[in-house]
């Protein structure tokens, strides 16, 4: 559940327990202990960021564990969004207009 609704309970779940639940829920496995440790670190950062987003949000949004919680923002952007072009058409992976000048 979201961070807000998380029942503080006597002993909040350990990060690793939450991460294990995440792996089970979204069927994630990692190839070696280093990758596991790296993803656990990214997961922890994303949870911390979710807490900040929830504090900053002016609406009623709830943030927390999602299917993308083990991805860095860069990985997520590559997979689901794209490079940003300030003020120009959304890049969504391609420069606006033609590369060669004069192309029709």
């Amino acid at each position: 559940g979201s961070l807000r609704n998380q029942d503080p309970g006597p002993q909040p779940l350990e990060l690793k327990q939450v991460f294990t639940l995440f792996q089970i829920q979204y069927n994630r496995s990692y190839s070696n202990p280093e990758e596991y440790a790296r993803r656990l670190d990214i997961f922890a950062r994303n949870l911390a960021q979710a807490q900040q987003l929830e504090a900053e949000d002016l609406g009623t949004a709830e943030f927390g564990v999602t299917p993308f919680s083990d991805l860095t923002e860069e990985e997520f952007g590559q997979l689901y969004g794209h490079r940003r072009m300030v003020g120009e058409a959304p890049s969504v992976g391609r420069k606006v207009g033609s590369e060669e000048s004069g192309e029709s």
Binding site: D57, A61, S69, L71, P90
Partner: protein
Amino acid sequence: MPPRCDWRKLKGVISPIKRQENCNCCWAMAVAGNVEALWGIRYNRSVQVSVQELLDCGRCGDGCRGGFVWDAFITVLNNSGLASEQDYPFRGNSKPHKCLAKNYKKVAWIQDFIMLEDNEQRIAWYLATQGPITVTINMKLLQQYQKGVIKATPATCDPQLVDHSVLLVGFGKRKSVAGRWAEAGSSQPHPRNPIPYWILKNSWGAEWGEKGYFRLHRGSNTCGITKYPLTARVDLPAKKRPVSCP
């Protein structure tokens, strides 16, 4: 204008939530959803159109590397419509494929497409009276989003940096909430007025967000929602009486 609108409530208009897999095709899925919805509303016929045709038959032909909704609408026009998802299914991987549009019967087509003005009132009116609209937003807050209405500021979600296309399917108002501010005792007044919101269909699977949907605050151009509101038109242009401007 009705106080709320939700095209998901009308059978055969909004197709099931799609999932992009390993393909940057949010723009194609948003357009496919737009055409499906308008076709369902106008002709009372539920169709599921081919996203793969939009990816293979676009001007650059490698749609999994990204694209623009206006390119997708042009592809629909250039190919005289879209094949069904069943005939020309989505492959979900990023290898480009040859355009096979000519091989299949078209199940839906469009007359043209338009971009609406960057005004949330006008967008809501058009949504309520004509049907769903594709919009392109800044997706920065969506990675960790679980549920509820996102209300951001330009500082937390720059409305100029839009990089993800989705389908606008409805709007409503959420009862006012005591809000986290009251609990946190911060200086912010907790909202007395109900919170107006947009309902948006994403393409990241149904396990993300509110069963694949999410809500953004309506009325503050949250995350740049008014920057590129585009929609197809499937109706033959009604004969308009000529008017003379004095």
